[in-house]
């Protein structure tokens, strides 16, 4: 495999799974020309006039869609760790004797470790999406036939619309659908909130199958997925385990150290002047992020400040802020708990968004860059503010990118991380895998202090008189090394064997993940 050095000095392959790759050229530097991809033209004459597209079962739908060896099949992670459909889908594909599938999920979860046997027996050739937990371990050990490709949520849309990934069959899990294929995620026994991650697939795939465990008579309102894009509808007994699809309630972290980080971030919002009338922010559902929202809410109430919109990952904490009038809107990318699902269903100001509106870099703008501040996590951050979210310091690939790369485009990007986990330093000299370039990462908040990127002179000036423990990142780095007993050794990896590549939001390759030597 030929590797070249890209604009951030990382070695990346120029050809992966037989597809030519463009090395990362810098933020905002690569601008492809030409037309977007398009799905084939279809005729109503080939679809039932009464709108009933229900077929007997998934196997039948796959057969009608022309499933064959080497195809690209897409699935979506709305059902998160409760997803039973994807596993059932590949059981079916295996039973049909089809091989070498490129699986193109929007994300994977530990529940998908069921698929390892299909990676082993060649039913699945490789994964393009995320390789979480057990799948990541499998990939890191060099056991996958092809090379993994990791993309952000926005990068996934970009790859589909730019024609980088052509989906043969999209299988969309729909918590509620009608026989025409209109589908929604905000109701039904397996309700998950919204179906935004499947939207691109429904528009661009050759064949679209909607699978539901809650078939309702036409029309299914609202239609987050439009039946006019759908080929077949399949009824299944159950899409998965509702308890694992959304949590009943999301809990704020109890860790005093993480709460301290959350408190620092809320104070930073106020001291740096981010928290002002009409502002906006993005917060995920990680323990620190939830707690941050709780502390920010207290500060907003005290100062009588109101946000224009919050981007989520919604949870009951954001919903409460919406209902208390602390924000005009929630622009929601995915719903993490039952309160989030309820609010999205009932409150018109709780708006469902997709990776197209929020994140797609090859569009005429997106919401992510309009957000005043985003609070994100990371597995590692280095002294040049580069961030890693996919591998751990031992070299193992264990997480997907999610919307992380896309959210880095916020006006101020804040990474909330403990400075070390047990004895594992999080602030390092050089990230194991470079997923986000330091020029987009503005503030690192740890329990041992807050580091502001020297590029952000405005933030440094604004917080000059703050009581927050603002320190150079090198100082935190040194302190952590001292606590952990010296600089951590780097993992032993096979530099000749790239097991996965990391795509940047524009489709270029920003870094490689190597096989871990055991």
């Amino acid at each position: 495999m030929k590797l070249v050095k890209n604009a951030v000095g990382r070695l990346v392959p120029t050809n992966v799974n037989g597809q030519k790759q463009i090395p990362f050229k810098g933020v905002g530097k690569y601008k492809p020309k030409g037309k977007k991809a398009a799905p084939p033209i279809r005729s109503c004459a080939d679809y039932p006039a009464d709108g009933n597209k229900v077929v007997k079962n998934l196997k039948e739908a796959l057969k009608k869609a022309g499933l064959k060896d080497g195809m690209t099949i897409s699935t979506h992670h709305h059902l998160r760790n409760g997803d039973a459909l994807t596993n059932y889908l590949f059981d079916t594909i295996k039973a049909m004797g089809v091989k070498n599938i490129r699986w193109f999920p929007s994300a994977s979860f530990p529940v998908h470790k069921h698929l390892i046997k299909y990676l082993e027996d060649g039913t699945i050739h490789h994964i393009e999406g995320s390789m979480n937990g057990p799948l990541g371990r499998f990939t890191s050990e060099g056991k996958m036939r092809g090379t993994g490709v990791l993309r952000s949520h926005g990068g996934r849309w970009q790859a589909i619309q730019d024609g980088e990934v052509h989906i043969d069959i999209a299988v969309i899990a729909a918590p509620t659908a009608d026989p025409f294929g209109n589908a929604t995620g905000d109701r039904g026994p397996s309700a998950c909130g919204l179906l935004g991650f499947a939207l691109a697939d429904s528009i661009y795939a050759d064949n679209v199958i909607v699978a539901t465990d809650n078939l309702v008579p036409f029309p299914c309102i609202p239609w987050q997925i439009q039946g006019n894009n759908v080929d077949y509808v399949v009824e299944v007994d159950s899409l998965g385990d509702p308890a694992k699809i959304v949590s009943g309630t999301t809990q704020v972290t109890k860790s005093p150290d993480r709460l301290l980080i959350a408190e620092y971030i809320a104070q930073f919002f106020e001291d740096a002047g981010i928290m002002k009338d009409g502002f906006s922010f993005q917060a995920g559902a990680g323990g620190i992020n939830l707690a941050f929202a709780v502390y920010l809410r207290e500060r907003m109430k005290k100062k009588g400040i109101k946000a224009r919109f919050i981007r989520g990952g919604s949870t009951k904490y954001l919903v409460e802020m919406l209902e208390e009038g602390l924000t005009d809107f929630i622009l929601d990318g995915q719903t993490f708990d039952l309160e989030g699902v309820r609010s999205m269903r009932e409150n018109p100001n709780h708006v469902n968004t997709s990776p197209f509106t929020s994140y797609n870099y090859h569009g005429k703008g997106n919401f992510a860059s309009m957000v005043d501040a985003a609070v994100l996590g990371a597995t590692e951050v280095d002294i040049n503010f580069n961030g890693n979210v996919v591998t751990h310091s031992d070299g193992y690939l264990l997480h997907g990118i999610g919307g992380w790369q896309n959210a880095l485009f916020a006006k101020t990007t804040i990474l909330a991380v403990p400075s070390f986990r047990d004895r594992i330093p999080v602030i390092v000299d050089e990230v194991t895998t470079l997923v986000g370039p330091g020029e987009l990462i503005d503030v690192i908040v740890t329990e041992r202090g807050i580091a502001i990127n020297p590029r952000r002179k405005d933030l440094i000036k604004a917080t000059k008189n703050s009581s927050l423990p603002i320190r150079p990142i090198e100082e935190i780095y040194e302190e952590v090394n001292k606590i952990c007993g010296g600089k951590p050794a780097k993992p032993k990896v096979n530099k000749n064997k790239v097991v996965a590549i990391i795509k940047w939001v524009d489709g270029t390759v920003i870094d490689s993940v190597y096989q871990v030597e055991q």
């Binding site: 150290d257 301290l260 047990d422 004895r423 010296g486 050794a489």
Partner: protein, 394 residues
């Protein structure tokens, strides 16, 4: 005994390690390490263990380690424990380097509003404890350590006093109830402990026993710094003898009350209103004040009830207490806020101090504010208020 174990393991254990050590007569040192951080620090851990084997003269042994991310000083404490459990005759100590950041002093009358209890055998709580800015941290060898792990906690507390940075918090250790507590002292006195908490104190003799032992060790290690004592009164007898205890040593810096044991001792239940302990608490405040040291209140045990905690501190402050025990880092901020002087109190203190300075400048013997004469204790109280304000800003 041919095989011993030390430390902890299970899915929930973090920042600790489990060690099995087996006596062998040949074959050298056989080390089997499973570590969460083997990539980053595996070699480092192995080097430490081999060095310690040489130090203790261990030539042949089977060693199995399951490490869940223990810091170096923890690994050293656990392995020393295993060695000493297998060879009780070994007396020498393997000490981690003394962290230069830990070489700070304390003062007898420093602020002691909050003191955070850290169970002495739970290393995961140590490295971040100081970040929550308690006035003091207490490494506890007593009630939070199971009787079977007392030896483990001693070594861990000793190593942590040397290696872990508590970021300026006063460094306290609660020793075991006497007489066992006397044997704890050699593990803490040589390692810059600031304050020894003496639990279940019932007489001046208890304090004197500790003082004598401390002095003995200080002499042996040529330690010049003062080590202070905070007797904890936890019984009816202790309450009656509060003044005798408070004045037992010139190095007493505070007198604390422990209400769980006290209420049990007088045969009643602890309530939030605290009527049952009013006498004891007042008695303790009086004894401490009469002895010129700080009265310190008990802990508030419901870590989720911040409002209850706030009320309890305000009540303690009204009774005359100057500090409160904390069992969770989140309590610290609330305690500090509740002990903070009110706005008008601060304003008044400023005026008094200004008047005092003015009078001093003019060489006046008598300080007055408006038409009122100000006595020295009033000035002292005002200074105390301003000190509090200053420390709150830090």
């Amino acid at each position: 005994m041919n095989k011993v174990t030390a430390g902890k393991r299970d899915a929930k254990v973090r920042s600790d390690c489990y060690i099995e050590l087996e006596r062998k007569n040949s074959g050298g040192i056989k080390l089997d390490l499973k570590s969460k951080v083997s990539v980053m620090y595996g070699n480092d851990i192995k080097n430490t263990i081999h060095e310690m084997c040489r130090f203790f003269g261990l030539k042949h042994a089977g060693i199995y380690i399951e490490d869940s991310g223990a810091l170096p000083s923890t690994i050293m404490a656990r392995f020393e424990l295993a060695v000493k459990r297998l060879f009780p005759e070994i007396e020498k100590e393997y000490l981690p380097d003394f962290n230069p950041a830990n070489d700070y002093k304390t003062k007898k009358n420093r602020l002691r509003r909050s003191r955070l209890y850290l169970p002495g055998n739970e290393p995961k709580f140590f490295p971040n404890a100081g970040l929550h800015k308690p006035d003091g941290i207490i490494l506890d060898l007593e009630d939070s350590v199971s009787p079977l792990e007392k030896d483990a906690a001693r070594l861990l507390v000793r190593n942590s006093l040397r290696a872990i940075d508590f970021y300026g918090a006063e460094r306290m250790v609660r020793i075991n109830q006497l007489p066992r507590g006397l044997d704890d002292l050699q593990y803490v006195v040589p390692h810059n402990v600031h304050v020894i908490l003496i639990p279940k104190c019932e007489s001046a003799d208890d304090v004197k026993l500790v003082e004598n032992k401390v002095n003995e060790i200080k002499k042996q290690f040529n330690i010049k710094r003062n080590i202070y004592f905070m007797p904890i009164i936890e019984s009816a007898l202790g309450v009656i003898k509060a003044y005798e205890i408070a004045t037992a040593s010139k190095n007493n810096c505070a007198l604390a009350i422990g209400l769980e044991d006290y209420t049990a001792d007088i045969g009643t239940q602890r309530t939030n209103e605290g009527k049952e302990s009013f006498f004891a608490r007042s008695m303790l405040v009086n004894a401490a004040k009469a002895a010129g040291i700080q009265p310190i209140d008990t802990v508030f045990s419901d870590v989720t009830d911040m409002e209850g905690l706030r009320k309890s501190v305000i009540e303690a402050k009204a009774l005359g207490f100057e500090g409160k025990g904390c069992i969770h880092p989140r309590q610290i901020k609330v305690v500090h806020e509740a002990f903070a002087p009110a706005e008008e109190e601060i304003e008044k203190a400023k005026k008094i101090i200004d008047a005092f300075k003015e009078a001093k400048k003019k060489g006046l013997g008598v300080v007055s504010l408006g038409s009122k004469m100000i006595d020295p204790p009033v000035v002292k109280r005002a200074e105390r208020v301003m000190e509090l304000v200053k420390s709150m800003k830090n």
